[in-house]
């Protein structure tokens, strides 16, 4: 089957006259080989991005991405598509800023439109007391050269007229920290774009192939057992966020991770109402982030369901919390109907930050523990994880994300909530 052509305005024009035979699948079915240089487990955003960077930046020839179900069926297609780098700690904001810069050029890098939309991310202060905390975070970002703008009520009203800040509320809005380069990216397009670009570089993407075990002798892994048979591998990467706890169980290594549910929902489409991403993270008020998708639906998400779960269903009363908080911010949407609701399983680590490191064996790597930050981290995570796998040394950007930090005490506890995954 012919490879997908390079996309351009010229290609579009040519396709117009070439008829229906011009378009091809984004990537075509490959056969599973017996041995690979690198086997990546999980064809989500992080796995596909790692495969892409291994092939493009490090010239690793034989790379396979093994996926239990379908490309992009996990959390890469279940998030609320928000990208931002407004973190307090340097370890986090440098990493996420690297990611945001990559988002800005990703459509060109992949030759695939991922619909990066820098519509701004507005972090609301729901009390005067929250304002200094936002100011501190904004100043930390600006010191690192990241854009951040602290807005009082008047400035917020000018920036976001759809938000009525004067409504009588139990918790009145006091202002906001705004990152204008933040925004949204079409999540499915990210999975498809990386898969297409990786396949074009010779990566084998194998769907419907579940990894069931690792074959190893003292200190070295030799390959993976799969539902399609044994595959030999020099190096193995687990990019299975959402089920990493089960990978730990499979490898016989307890991990600082619990699996929790995070749900999201979308209303019926309406005409343009909300031009930015609104985030309100004040626990007593109900945590919510709300945005309008390009199709017009109001997308909402909130806090975790609150207990370990693999069900991917989501509890009803949490849905009510999220909707109540969203309607409090935007009373205009109160009459809309919820069209769809879904949930994804999160790797929740003990400090709320990810893990990119070796695990148990010298040639087995873990790209996991993404908590809330998985989607927006994809481009930086893929590049850095590929560098770690190819060279054996972690780039400075991800050095703080090592597995040993929990034991050595170098936690990245942005929330300062203690070793309770559910509170991160």
């Amino acid at each position: 089957m012919a490879a997908s052509p390079r996309y351009s305005a010229w290609a579009l024009l040519r396709a117009r006259f070439a008829g229906s035979g011009y378009w091809h699948p984004l990537w075509s079915g490959r056969r599973l080989q017996e041995a690979y240089d690198v086997v990546i487990v999980g064809a989500g955003g992080h796995g596909l991005a790692t495969a892409f960077h291994l092939a493009r930046d490090h010239g690793v020839r034989r790379v396979a991405v093994l996926e239990k179900r379908l490309v992009g069926y996990g959390n890469v297609g279940r998030n609320t598509t928000i990208v931002r780098s407004n973190y307090l700690y340097p370890e986090n904001h440098y990493f996420y800023e690297d990611s945001l810069r990559r988002w800005e050029t990703l459509s060109r890098d992949l030759n695939y439109n991922v619909m990066y939309s820098p519509r701004g991310v507005v972090d609301l202060a729901i009390s005067e007391d929250e304002f200094p905390a936002l100011a501190r975070r904004g100043n930390a970002m600006r010191l690192a050269g990241i854009d951040a703008e602290l807005m009082d009520l008047a400035a917020l009203e000018r920036h976001c007229p759809e938000l009525d800040t004067r409504l009588p509320r139990r918790f009145p809005i006091a202002g906001a920290l705004v990152q204008k380069r933040g925004g949204t990216v079409r999540h499915d397009a990210v999975a498809w774009g990386y898969a297409r670009a990786a396949a074009a570089l010779g990566v084998d993407i194998i769907e419907d192939c579940e990894v069931t075990g690792v074959r190893a002798s003292t200190g070295v892994a030799h390959g993976v057992e799969t539902t399609r048979g044994y595959v030999k591998a020099d190096r193995i990467v687990f990019a299975t966020a959402g089920h990493t706890g089960m990978v730990g169980t499979m490898l016989g290594v307890p991990l600082p991770i619990e699996t929790h549910l995070l749900q999201a929902m979308v209303t019926e489409p309406i005409k343009p109402l909300l031009h930015t991403v609104l985030i309100s993270m004040f626990p007593a008020h109900g945590e919510v982030y709300v945005l309008q998708s390009d199709r017009g639906g109001i997308v909402m998400g909130g806090h975790l369901d609150g207990y370990p779960s693999f069900t991917r269903e989501g509890r009803w009363d949490r849905m009510e919390d999220v909707v109540a908080a969203a309607v409090d911010l935007l009373p205009q949407i109160a009459g809309l109907r919820i069209l769809r609701q879904w949930a994804g399983t999160n790797d929740q680590t003990m400090d709320g930050c990810p893990i990119i490191d070796r695990v148990r064996y010298d040639n087995v790597f873990l790209n996991a523990g993404w908590c809330y930050g998985g989607f927006k981290a994809i481009p930086a995570s893929g590049a850095a994880c590929a560098a770690l796998v190819a060279t054996g040394t972690a780039p400075d950007l991800i050095a703080p994300f090592k597995l040993s930090r929990f034991e050595s005490g170098h936690l990245l506890d942005e929330r300062g909530a203690g070793p309770f995954p559910v509170r991160q």
């Binding site: 730990g248 169980t249 307890p254 991990l255 991770i257 619990e258 207990y307 370990p308 009803w316 309770f420």
Partner: protein, 80 residues
């Protein structure tokens, strides 16, 4: 998972209960107990509190793949 049967109060909506923590399952050494977990698709042992009810502390065993409560018992005095 919509209801939990409190041993003291009977069946109540899940919103009345608060999950507190997963019980140590990777050894009782301090670091392992606080930070490490062995994930299981079929059993999760947890402490909950009937926070908006009798305020009793509960040890709950659940199946995290289905949400089904496998067993539940009232604890003496434990807390955060």
């Amino acid at each position: 998972m919509t209801h939990i049967v409190c041993p003291f109060c009977g069946p109540r909506e899940i919103g009345e209960f608060e999950f507190h923590k997963t019980l140590p399952n990777a050894g009782l050494a301090p670091f392992a107990a606080a930070y490490l977990r062995v994930d299981s698709l079929t059993l999760s042992r947890e402490h909950w509190q009937h926070a908006r009810g009798c305020r009793g502390w509960l040890e709950v065993h659940r199946n995290p793949s289905t949400g089904a409560v496998l067993s539940i018992r009232l604890l003496g005095t434990v807390g955060p």
